[in-house]
């Protein structure tokens, strides 16, 4: 599938934003601290930026409001509805923290739960597509949820280091979620690499009863919407390198830094801020590569008609 920048940025940023909102919703950070107030603002900003970017690839964005109507059947519609619903408790929690230095557990936990539901809806847009077998597994939403938590708690570690609260607890949780997320992702990758395609050129044409089917001629000599949108291929050797890069930057480096923070303790606050920031930036870079691969490596059933 074509790795569209707008969708990669959207899923990465909104995942981070909802992850941070979840961490804040648990009351992990001290609502009176300036860093916590900034964290609330950043969570809302990341979510908003992600949603804005997701409308960039629409053909007719002026009608985007219509996308709230089909929540009975469509995960994309559900995601839109949940994003709006989730915004209410998140904005209220942010208001309480910023103006009253207060944390309201019921409100916070509701916001955290809704944040995770929204991330789940995003992931289900992909996981529900039978036409893209790589995505069509419950492991897809599991990875999205765990990566949101991994990124969110890494960010909250940075704000904790800035004076927002318990640095040790936050970095411990962040390291835990980064590890869990990568375990899930490696299982997901292993499934992808060992998949037997359910659809083949033989089933796509119904000609398998005669023999092996090979594309002889495409319908047109140039590319079309379908081959541009769904025919994207990444060379295997590049994919392997990029996967290693995303694992290193998104997993190994942040976990090492977060564990370093645990060892460092509260001794050197300035160093802790730098280390936490590095962990966050490394994780985000790794996630962008991971999301790029999520699309680039996925094969769509229609390519059975295009020899791809």
């Amino acid at each position: 599938m074509h790795p569209a920048l707008s969708i990669i940025v959207f899923t990465t940023l909104s995942g981070l934003g909802y992850g941070l909102a979840t961490a804040l919703g648990t009351g992990l950070l001290d609502p009176a601290a300036t860093a916590t107030k900034a964290a609330h603002l950043l969570a809302l900003a990341l979510i908003a930026a992600g949603l804005m970017s997701s409308t960039l690839h629409l053909g007719n964005p002026q009608r985007a409001w219509r996308a709230f109507s089909q929540w009975r059947s469509s995960w994309l519609s559900r995601e839109g509805v949940m994003a709006v619903l989730t915004f209410l408790p998140l904005a209220a929690s942010a208001f309480l923290a910023i103006f009253e230095s207060r944390y309201e557990p019921a409100l916070g936990l509701a916001g955290a739960a809704l944040s995770l539901v929204t991330v789940y809806c995003t992931a289900m847009i992909y996981a529900s597509l039978k036409s893209v077998q790589t995505w069509h597994t419950p492991l897809t939403p599991l990875c999205y949820l765990l990566f949101a938590l991994a990124g969110g708690f890494s960010l909250s570690t940075f704000f904790a280091a800035m004076g927002g609260g318990n640095l040790l607890l936050s970095s411990g949780l962040a390291a835990f979620f980064v590890c869990l997320a990568w375990i899930a992702k490696l299982v997901w990758r292993n499934r992808m690499n060992t998949l037997r395609p359910i659809s083949t050129p033989e089933t796509a044409t119904g000609l398998g009863f005669i023999g092996k089917v090979r594309l002889f001629e495409r319908p047109h000599i140039n590319d079309n919407y379908l081959t541009n949108e769904m025919g994207f291929r990444v060379a295997r050797k590049h994919a392997v390198k990029l996967a290693a890069l995303s694992f290193g930057l998104g997993g190994i480096v942040p976990v090492a830094l977060l564990l370093g923070l645990l060892a460092l303790g509260a001794a050197h606050p300035a160093v802790a801020v730098g280390v936490a920031l590095l962990a966050v930036l490394s994780h985000i870079t790794g996630m962008l590569v991971e999301r790029w691969l999520f699309f680039a490596e996925a094969r769509h059933a229609v390519m059975n008609y295009y020899g791809g």
Partner: protein
């Protein structure tokens, strides 16, 4: 409303495509584009129409496949490989995944005849339905920013202002080889249903669970091309010649 009809449509209008007959002339591709660029909804735009990178929106495309039986050889005309021309457009699936994923309600399946349509005034051009269709039957029009797909020529088949003979989809009307047929596949006595029953019509990618309405008639077993091709080879080689040909062969040798 993008939930599928709760009860099965009374009629299931669709196409039956005969892979034994299609000669791959692409006439249906052109007549489809011609009718639909001026018909239902936005025109079917082309990008860079006179340039090197020309591309455009089509609702029907013809692919060509080569099928090689197990152990078969590819020896020009004489080998066992077969070329099959393969027209493809929306199959108006009973369990249309393109319909249920649509967030706006633009995509829908009609209760009265099962045709799958896009209401272009509601479509936001998110492209998700094109991802959901395993057959590549939906293409976004890049100029209009809305999703285009085969309408089964809904603006012809019920159109009383045109002659009755023309009240079939444009591709069916055009096909010079008569490889495309149109009718009600819910009625077991319709011409198309009888054809499907007689020829063992098949679903494309049944494993995707879409339950397509359109059916494909598989190519008939190949007539022994081998016999003809041996004769062609004989023309070069007179070893097995008998009777008059043996005598002629001898005479010509001696000259």
């Amino acid at each position: 409303m993008t939930s599928l009809p709760a009860t099965a449509p009374a009629k299931k209008l669709g196409l039956v495509i005969d892979l034994d007959v299609c000669v791959g002339c692409h006439a249906c591709v052109i007549s489809c584009k011609e009718w639909n660029t001026g018909g239902y909804g936005a025109a079917l735009s082309d990008q860079d129409p006179y340039g090197a990178e020309v591309s455009g929106t089509f609702l029907n495309r013809v692919h060509s496949f080569e099928v090689i039986p197990e152990g078969g050889e590819i020896v020009g005309e004489a080998g066992e490989a077969r070329i099959v021309h393969f027209p493809k457009s929306c199959l108006h699936c009973d369990d249309a995944p393109c319909v249920t994923v649509c967030p706006t309600g633009a995509s829908y399946k009609r209760t009265e005849d099962g045709i799958v349509l896009v209401d272009e005034d509601m479509c936001i051009g998110c492209g998700l339905c094109a991802w959901a269709c395993p057959y590549g039957a939906r293409e976004m029009d890049l100029a209009a920013g809305v999703m285009k797909k085969c309408t089964l020529c809904v603006d012809r088949i019920y159109n009383e202002t045109i002659q009755e003979i023309d009240r079939v989809p444009s591709c069916v009307r055009t096909c010079p080889a008569n490889a495309r047929h149109y009718g009600d596949l819910a009625d077991p006595q319709s011409e198309v249903s009888l054809m499907v029953a007689a020829r063992g019509g098949i679903d494309l990618m049944p494993e995707q669970g879409t339950r397509p309405v359109n059916k494909y008639l598989p190519p008939r077993p190949r007539q022994v091309l081998g016999a003809g091709s041996e004769q062609a080879l004989l023309a070069e080689n007179t070893d097995g010649a008998t009777g008059f040909f043996a005598w002629l062969d001898g005479v010509l040798e001696r000259i």
